[in-house]
């Protein structure tokens, strides 16, 4: 195994870990709001609501900074799947995860600074960053503004619609987080992908 030059720039790593921390804290505070009698980690539900709001704002800001960085540094293409990513490449990647990985086959995509994400990652992030994250932001902002815009909230179905939808989005984020953490162990070594996201250097598999 050899190491390549920097795979993840400092900007990307900071952005990623801020995003990760934000989502983690949002899930934690979200649980404190959804199950206040069982997750009283922040003292009271009122504290949890406040933290949830401010972390949410920070996450939104970070998301926009991420968009700005990837657009200006011309790195957005990492997240844009090609047609092939939905078909052959996706099948190859799935075949690897469900079969090849147990046979000791080589990863179908050789990660390098020009191609950081495999096709399944691209599809996942396309949905995550363009559908689920905005969905959570919109429903979250509406829930935050329930006091300010009661008529709008009522027209949208009220809290009985918005809150459960936001909750569902949270569960999906949590499911993603579980899968994401596990798949982070599928590199050449258990910790190589995690190390890459910390140091920026990725360990390549031997040919």
């Amino acid at each position: 195994m050899t190491s390549t030059p920097v795979l993840y720039s400092l900007h990307e790593r900071i952005w990623h870990w801020l995003q990760a921390a934000g989502i983690g804290f949002l899930i934690l505070t979200g649980f404190a709001i959804h199950y206040p009698d069982r997750f009283g980690v922040l003292g009271s539900m009122a504290n949890a609501v406040r933290w949830h709001t401010w972390i949410g704002v920070a996450l939104v800001v970070n998301a926009f900074l991420g968009i700005f960085y990837h657009a200006t540094a011309e790195k957005y293409h990492h997240f844009l799947p090609r047609m092939d990513d939905f078909t052959d490449a996706a099948i190859r990647q799935a075949h690897f995860y469900f079969y090849g990985i147990f046979q000791g086959e080589k990863h179908p995509l050789e990660t390098d600074p020009r191609r950081k994400l495999n096709s399944l990652q691209k599809i996942t992030y396309l949905l995550l960053l363009n559908v689920l994250l905005p969905f959570q932001i919109v429903t979250g902002v509406l829930l935050w503004g329930a006091d300010l815009w009661p008529i709008l909230i009522a027209r949208l179905g009220g809290l009985w619609v918005l809150a459960p939808l936001h909750t569902l989005g949270s569960y999906l984020f949590l499911a993603f987080l579980v899968g994401h953490l596990y798949l982070a162990t599928t590199g050449p070594t258990l910790g190589s992908l995690l190390r890459a996201m910390i140091t920026g250097y990725h360990t390549q598999e031997e040919p």
Binding site: I33, M45, A46, V49, F102, P164, L168, Y171, V178
Partner: protein, 703 residues
């Protein structure tokens, strides 16, 4: 001369006006209680009402005539407009609101003839004023004279005891019965079982009892005795017994004590002590109220105290921990007043004021920006026409004084809740959807009604009443009072928004006459259950009742007096048909949620634990035990509708208000099952996938 008199009147009006405008101050005693935090209120000097002459109905001084006092002559006449005052709720009790459209618009059932006590059915007494125009004696329940004998102790005369249901003044040439069963001129004779004429000449009429509210030493107990005995004309005199102005005669009536009168024939001010209604005056009828007292009488005058019985209100400035009697369980830890407003020296009229009092009136008109009118009515005009439809809030399902709902000072009229709830997220939503009492009345530390079961009559001829919050008899000071936790019920607020309020649930069980569309009268129930009138206070059950309900010793006690089989319900139904002429009776349960509003605690004792509401075990949906004797399988009425609000699956039937809370999303409590299921399925799926996939990788690597 006339001009001079007018000038004097204006001066007099000014003096009285100043007195009334400062009413909260001079309604206080000169010795502030130990918990009073505002000594200046008690120190203010009480202003004196001008001397008055007590006159009889002809206008003659009662000292000379010896006849009953006429408040129409004594208080009315040149000073106060008696008819204007007596046309208000305290004197009419709904008599002047017998308007079907008004009742319908407020959801009152069709069998109620008025929104007030004079005409509406209530599960607590299970009695109702007989409607005008009945043609059969079986339609007669409580006639106007009987109503006065039963309820006239509190309800202060005037309209209801001066005028018949056709608007004619009793004992005048126009006042004549309209048919043999006219409820204004008859009464049901229990011995004969017939509706017989009432002798108004003998009873006389009871004019508005101004003294009951405006004389601090008023005696409702003495008034009640006269009303109950049918001596209506002496009722107002009786109220003055404890002032020393009148002396009860052993035979009948009262004489006057000359010592209490001035040489000019007016009554001495220190004897009558006319003043604005004090807290004690109001408490005589409305509930246990004591000014910073540590001993609270379990029952005053040995009868009803509505506010306390319904909800356990104790409006008292003393600390609960200082209570000497009755026996409050855990009082040692309750180092706070029964009510913070009482502790601050506030009295009833501070909130429930006369709506046209220029010093107090508030204007509730959302289209205008004016909350207070400095240029209100003239003082003299107010004193002549003081509105006695006192400002009131909204305590569903109470419909009394319907046209004055939400006229009182509410919490938000004095407190700026936004400023003192910084800790609270979603302040506007919380303040809109929760009544202040939800957090500031987290528990009631007194007993209150739990149920009144008229479905089965005990051998007392009456209902079985149970209380919550007390272990033992309510009249025994040694009984342990543990209080109760309220039930939370959504109710429309003054802006018609649904708002959750703490309530006491009172459950009634009664038979309903489906043919007549009204509850079965108590006398009909007694005819069905008993063979005769009581002997030595005990009513004799019919053999069929004894055979079906009694234990092996032939005794029907509380455990036996239950409808635990359909056969028992069928038997009583048949008895009602056979002996009481009720063609289609139906046993019903009615749950009534009475909003608790007094007994407010300050911020130290207020509920601040978010999880109390925002959790799976939210207090908002906490099951509240109703009554262990409730029959199952019968219709349950809640606010006039058949609703499934009683859960019989629990050990004792409980109130299930989840259906009522459906419109509220309470974070932490409210759940959409399929969302939760799908969400956790996704999370669990990710876990299981990772676990299996990781395990297989591990196994493969080892092999």
């Amino acid at each position: 001369m006339r001009r001079h008199r007018g000038s004097r009147d204006r001066q007099l009006s000014f003096v009285i006006g100043v007195a009334l405008l400062s009413a909260p101050a001079w309604a206080q005693p000169s010795q502030p209680g130990p918990a009073s935090s505002n000594p200046t209120r008690g120190e203010q000097q009480k202003l004196v009402h001008p001397r008055i002459v007590l006159k009889d109905e002809t206008g003659e001084n009662v000292l000379r005539s010896g006849k009953p006092i006429s408040t129409r002559q004594s208080c009315g006449g040149d000073c106060h407009d008696y008819d204007y005052i007596a046309n208000s709720f305290h004197f009419q009790q709904g008599k002047n609101e017998m308007d079907r459209a008004l009742l319908t618009s407020h959801g009152a059932p069709a069998f109620n003839t008025s929104p007030g006590m004079f005409g509406k059915f209530s599960i607590i007494p299970n009695r109702q004023l007989t409607a005008v125009g009945i043609e059969e004696p079986s339609d007669a329940d409580m006639s106007q004279p009987e109503w006065l004998t039963k309820c006239g102790g509190c309800h202060t005369g005037g309209g209801i005891s001066e005028y018949d249901l056709h608007g004619k003044r009793f004992l005048t040439a126009d006042a004549k019965p309209d048919g043999p069963y006219d409820p204004s001129y008859t009464i049901r004779d229990r011995e004969k079982g017939q509706v017989v004429p009432w002798d108004w000449q003998k009873s006389g009429i009871a004019e508005a009892d101004c003294f009951l509210c405006h004389v601090p030493k008023a005696s409702r107990g003495d008034r009640k005795k006269e009303m109950a005995a049918g001596n209506f004309r002496w009722a107002d005199n009786a109220t003055l017994v404890e002032t020393g102005i009148v002396v009860r005669q052993e035979s009948e009536g009262f004489t006057y004590n000359r010592e209490a009168f001035n040489p000019d024939g007016s009554v001495k001010q220190d004897a009558i002590d006319l003043s604005d209604a004090t807290l004690e005056n109001c408490s005589q009828c409305h509930g246990f109220t004591a000014r910073n007292a540590t001993t609270i009488q379990p029952i005053q005058h040995a009868d009803i105290m509505r506010g306390t019985e319904k909800c356990g209100w104790v409006y008292n400035g003393a600390k609960i921990s200082d209570t000497v009697s009755p026996n409050i369980v855990g009082k040692e830890k309750m180092n706070f007043p029964w009510d913070v407003h009482a502790a601050a020296g506030m009295v009833c009229i501070d909130c429930h004021f006369s709506p046209n009092n220029p010093g107090r009136m508030i204007q509730e008109d959302t289209k205008k920006n004016l909350r207070y009118k400095p240029a209100g009515i003239d003082l003299a005009e107010y004193l002549r026409h003081p509105d006695h439809n006192f400002a009131r809030g909204n305590i569903p399902p109470e419909t009394v004084n319907l046209t004055r709902i939400n006229t009182m000072r509410a919490c938000g009229d004095c407190h700026d809740a936004e400023k003192v709830h910084a800790f609270l997220p979603y302040k506007a939503t919380h303040l809109r959807t929760l009544a202040c009492q939800v957090c500031h009345l987290p528990a009631v530390h007194f007993w209150a009604y739990r149920s009144d079961d008229w479905g089965f009559l005990m051998d007392t001829g009456g209902s079985r009443i149970t209380y919550r919050g007390i272990d033992g008899s309510i009249v025994d000071p040694e009984s342990e009072i543990s209080g109760y936790r309220p039930a939370y019920i959504p109710t429309a607020d003054k802006h018609q928004n649904l708002q959750i309020r703490p309530t006491n649930l009172i459950t009634g069980v009664y038979w309903f006459d489906k043919t007549k569309g009204r509850p079965v009268f108590t006398w009909q129930m007694q005819q069905a259950f008993f063979t005769a009138l009581p002997k030595e206070g005990e009513w004799p059950y019919r053999p069929e009742i004894l055979k079906t309900f009694a234990d092996k010793d032939g005794i029907i006690d509380l455990p036996q007096a239950v409808y635990d089989t359909p056969e028992k319900i069928a038997l009583v139904k048949q008895l009602l048909q056979t002996y009481a002429g009720v063609s289609d009776p139906e046993l019903r349960i009615e749950v009534v949620a009475w909003a608790t509003t007094h007994g407010i605690v300050g911020k130290q004792q207020a509920l601040r634990d978010c999880a109390a509401c925002h959790s799976k075990k939210s207090i908002l949906a906490r099951p509240v035990v109703l009554d262990s004797f409730l029959p199952s399988g019968v219709p349950v009425v809640y606010r006039g509708k058949n609703l499934k609000v009683v859960d019989f699956r629990t050990k004792e039937p409980t109130f299930d208000n989840r259906v009522l809370l459906q419109s509220f999303y309470v974070s932490g409590y409210s759940r959409v099952p399929w969302i939760e299921g799908l969400g956790w399925l996704c999370v669990a799926g990710a876990f299981v996938f990772s676990l299996i996939h990781g395990s297989l990788r591990l196994l493969r690597r080892k092999s």
